[in-house]
Symmetry: C2
Amino acid sequence: MRKKLKIAILGATGVVGRNMLSELEKSGLDIAEIKLLASKRSVGRKMLFNGQEIEVEEATDSSFRGMDVVFGAVKNDIALRFIDAIRQSGALFIDNSSAFRLNDDVPLVVVGVNDEDIFKHHGIIANPNCCTIIGLTAIAPIAKLSRIESMVVSTYQAVSGAGEAGMNEYNDELKAVANNEEYEPKAFSDQIVSNVIPKIGDILDNGYTKEEMKFQNEGRKIMHDEKLLVSCTCVRVPVLRSHSLSMTLNLEREVELDEVIDALKKSSAISLPLDREAMPLYVSEKTYVEVSRVRKDLVNPKGISLWCVGDQILKGAAYNAVEILKKYING
Amino acid sequence: MRKKLKIAILGATGVVGRNMLSELEKSGLDIAEIKLLASKRSVGRKMLFNGQEIEVEEATDSSFRGMDVVFGAVKNDIALRFIDAIRQSGALFIDNSSAFRLNDDVPLVVVGVNDEDIFKHHGIIANPNCCTIIGLTAIAPIAKLSRIESMVVSTYQAVSGAGEAGMNEYNDELKAVANNEEYEPKAFSDQIVSNVIPKIGDILDNGYTKEEMKFQNEGRKIMHDEKLLVSCTCVRVPVLRSHSLSMTLNLEREVELDEVIDALKKSSAISLPLDREAMPLYVSEKTYVEVSRVRKDLVNPKGISLWCVGDQILKGAAYNAVEILKKYING
């Protein structure tokens, strides 16, 4: 890959796309050109990159020609709509949608967990689901001490997981509820302020939502462990942009708690706050995962329970995508 | 016990005490007299019972004389301060504090789960922790199909668990956050609006909080199963008055999902909403527990996962306490 990069962001005006742009700014990567691609209605909108105004262009099949890297911050249908054009351009596609995550020839990468998979790509590298990134970052140091056989996970997911629409609805609804005014939810099935919604996405035949199955499906691929079992409950909570996970791990061999905590402390992707617990309020706009409440499980002697929190937009999406490119460039 | 009851509420002005009064109003019990007891600073305050004004009196050792029943809606220290006087009065003490819950001669009762224990009392019947009541109500029909060996529970607990102070702080903070104003939390360690706090109460030597251990300790006593194992993570969420629980049960024998759902449907204490999931917003001020997301666990073939929600103040406290008395009176 040539030194000065030409980079396109597909879906540049959405919350993840905008954060990809600002993460690229901070990345230290040598960037020759940034192309901002979106749907027709965003054309002409201007965004800043290193103090320079860049105009948003409409994404078309010819948009990707000459690009080295395309970041995808769009839903599956749009990613699928443009994949042939991106392939033809020869650009590396680092995609945040779930369209290609489980394809055999597409590496699915949590930076710091399975970086080596980056180099096995055939034109596409997929960014995992936000909860998968945050949860696996937290437990990766433990997986080095013992294979993780299974996990029970309950999530506390921020409204940012539903994108800009979710965040705007939350902020508007918060004002309405504070002022005792009526508010009609659209982005969510129900009022989310002063409520929690225990269903994210459609429920499949096995009783789990697609979102819940991602942890097991993506986790198996990232951990290179086809037998990993994950029972997950995904819950939307009235929090702006950081996801929290309550995780109980069943390890293959019993590991001392001190060993677990030492391993967590050594990870540069993890922060263990000393004077408080890990909380969404303190992780917003941070690129690390906070971990706390690490303790032996009371049910299984080989079990470890912990709590972890990460910014859904950054660690769970934009930051990980840009880190994938950095690892790829810098080796 | 004579027919027309003389009832005192110790801690009548707090949120649980006030709800005990309104639950007594709805109870159909034949009540001759209600005595409202509180600390000195509430003396003279008037509260309505069946349209009649009752003045709050200061609780002293002589307050309980002639009473048939005393409801306790105070913290442990106040319950302990008055227990001798209540015993001497001969009144039955139905106590919501945790001071006596694990005493051998004190029945700990979730109505609908272990009603038979009510009649083994020696002057005190204890009301369990709110999460214990809500969770055990939800799983009691399953426990009849198979012994429950262990559970992994993550909670989503409302601010009402911290009493009036918690609810007031939440409402005030909600307004402040909506208006971008500063707010200094007092009832909680941190801002709770747009946040979740994964620690309720002090952390013990084993890494679990007292609140988290209640589920196992109280669960063993209520289920009459000294071997029950519960690994619990208690989390405060920005919800006003209903607690939610994500529960994964490991059963002794495999039970078909249909059987589980049929058993849940038959419980009069449970509602399974048909057109939406169980959510705090819809359970507030209700006396039943909503259950949804019932499904086979993906980790353990003998496992069942479910989600349940109950009003913390009513089902988790005041309603259960008054129901204990009704069962005791009506047999």
